[in-house]
Chain length 310, copies 2
DNA sequence: TCTAAGGCTCACTTTTCCTGATCCATTGCG
DNA sequence: CGCAATGGATCAGGAAAAGTGAGCCTTAGA
């Protein structure tokens, strides 16, 4: 590569030329007139050509300056535009999150992230991953319900909180059905957050209440709607202790068997991101914030984790 | 204009990307690896995006780096090329000089200028100006035979030495023609450096020797050939005291009437240049050198100027 | 297991850059 | 015409940026 002239001097020249004077340039660049004057002089010395004709009411470009200006302006413009694009990408955080986690955990907390990091523009996609799994090109970071997976060597993961399951229903439903022992669930409407019924299957596998068939019951598209149905007294949902904490704390849902908690076979909630993006500011900031936000949830269920893990 | 990233950091990035490692860049830019590392880190922080993936055996561009590199390389390339062109123009000194002055004054001295200023490439055009006069676009500086003219407000001029005229001939011709009084010139062959015969006309107008007709004689294309003809004994040339100083000093030409010196009506020799280029290094350097080189000539004829001026 | 390559870090030095005061020339206005 | 305002040049001194060089760490290959 050919030898470049001093680039900061070029910047001063370009600004001065654009403003038709050193005062304008000095204001744009937030330096004094003297600094501009010196920069321009340095550049002129470097090139061996005067670029400005100094006049009383400002400066005028020489023939050489007229040749140089458009080149430099154009070059700086393309650089600035490219940098802008990169920075815009860097400032846009694309999150993908499954509906249940999104509605019941992320959305209520996201405003806090926005205020903590106004420099990032958040674009949330609330949806399940496509068949192919989390795509680090499509999204910067994703919430995943899984066993802290390292699906691909290109992905990195960070656990947020475990998924601990126990049946829950509206207080009135509890009374109506006289739910004192797990076997009583055989007479209840089971509410499923997916068609797979994996949640109820896991729990009945763990505690084997006689006569309770996880294949029965009603299906909902996600845990939020299933939970709301339970609150309305439709039946018994397999509550995620974290995602349903609000209802459990408020008493709109009660857990009839608080000692019978099992971990979801699918694993807990974790964050996923492309390994090469793991440390970039927007991802690191979100991971750090999410970890802190999840800390309260982890604490609330921590005494259950050991028991459930058995 | 959008905000530019730190330009020197960009330079480091570009070199590092081109070399595929910081070591290569540090060698190209003549700094240490640490300096490159710091520059790149600064740029990455500024953009909010990592540009390199650090590996054991060097460094690989990230997607962002791949986007940025061609833009920056291209931009720096055009800037470097433009600067190169300006500098090349700045280093090439185009001189235009009429043949007489060129052969008898400039060429013998030009080597001295070249050694004094090896940084300039000299391109000499030995020719008369076109009808339109000295063109400050075609040439950086010109030698002009004229009355310190300020032909145009865009031109600046600097006198070098006066043109003082007196007849001269070979010593043998002087003896043969017995040239003791100016009227004896009537029997001599007059040698003219131009068809206009302006030189002889000026001298005969000044001293009015009876019977001497400036319309007579032989024409030559320039003073050099006319002078050589005089040395060979062809006739009497109207010698320029400066341009013919060598022959006069050596005695190959003698001036029969050393007190009868008149200034050329065309004026002396001066330098011309575009006013806007007057101070640029190559022109200033040449003016300064030419003035010093002409000082000896001015001194040699200074005692005659006052007399001739009358 | 060891070595070499290549990046990172940090305390320290050098260079560059900027400031702020002061001049100076031009210009436009009372 | 005098005189303030504008705009650039210059300079000493101090702040900020860049560079240095030694030591550390990780990885690849012998």
């Amino acid at each position: 590569m050919a030898k470049l002239p001093p680039l900061n001097a070029l910047k001063a020249f370009e600004a001065a030329a654009r403003h038709g004077g050193f005062v304008g340039a000095s204001e744009e660049l937030h330096v004094t007139r003297g600094a501009i004057s010196r920069h321009v002089k340095l550049l002129e010395a470097h090139l061996g050509v005067p670029l400005f004709v100094r006049q009383a009411q400002g400066v005028r470009l020489t023939a050489a300056g007229l040749k140089l200006l458009p080149v430099v302006s154009e070059a700086f413009g393309t650089i600035a535009r490219a940098a802008e694009n990169l920075s815009a990408d860097a400032a846009e955080l694309r999150i993908i999150c499954p509906p249940g986690t999104s509605i019941r955990w992320l959305l209520p907390r996201l405003e806090d992230f926005r205020t903590a990091h106004p420099e990032f523009r958040v674009r949330l996609t609330t949806d399940f991953y496509p068949e192919s799994g989390f795509d680090p090109i499509e999204a910067d970071i994703g919430f995943s319900v899984s066993n802290w997976p390292n699906r691909s060597p290109d992905l990195a993961a960070q656990p947020l909180f475990p998924t601990l399951l126990t049946p829950a229903c509206a207080p009135r439903y509890l009374r109506d059905k006289a739910l004192r022992r797990p076997e009583a669930l055989a007479a209840c409407e089971l509410l499923h957050e997916t068609r797979s019924h994996a949640d109820w299957t896991a729990w009945t596998d763990a505690f084997r209440p006689a006569g309770v068939d996880p294949a029965r019951g009603q299906d909902f598209p996600n845990i939020d709607i299933a939970t709301k149905a339970a609150v309305m007294g439709v039946g018994v949902v397999m509550a995620d202790l974290v995602l349903c904490r609000e209802e459990l704390d408020a008493g709109t849902l009660v857990a009839p068997f608080p000692d019978m908690v099992c971990p979801s076979p699918l694993g807990g909630i974790c964050l996923l991101a492309g390994r090469d993006k793991w440390q970039i500011p927007k991802v690191a900031a979100f991971r750090s914030w999410a970890d802190a936000a999840a800390a309260a949830d982890r604490a609330a269920v921590s005494h259950l984790v050991a028991r459930a893990g058995g």
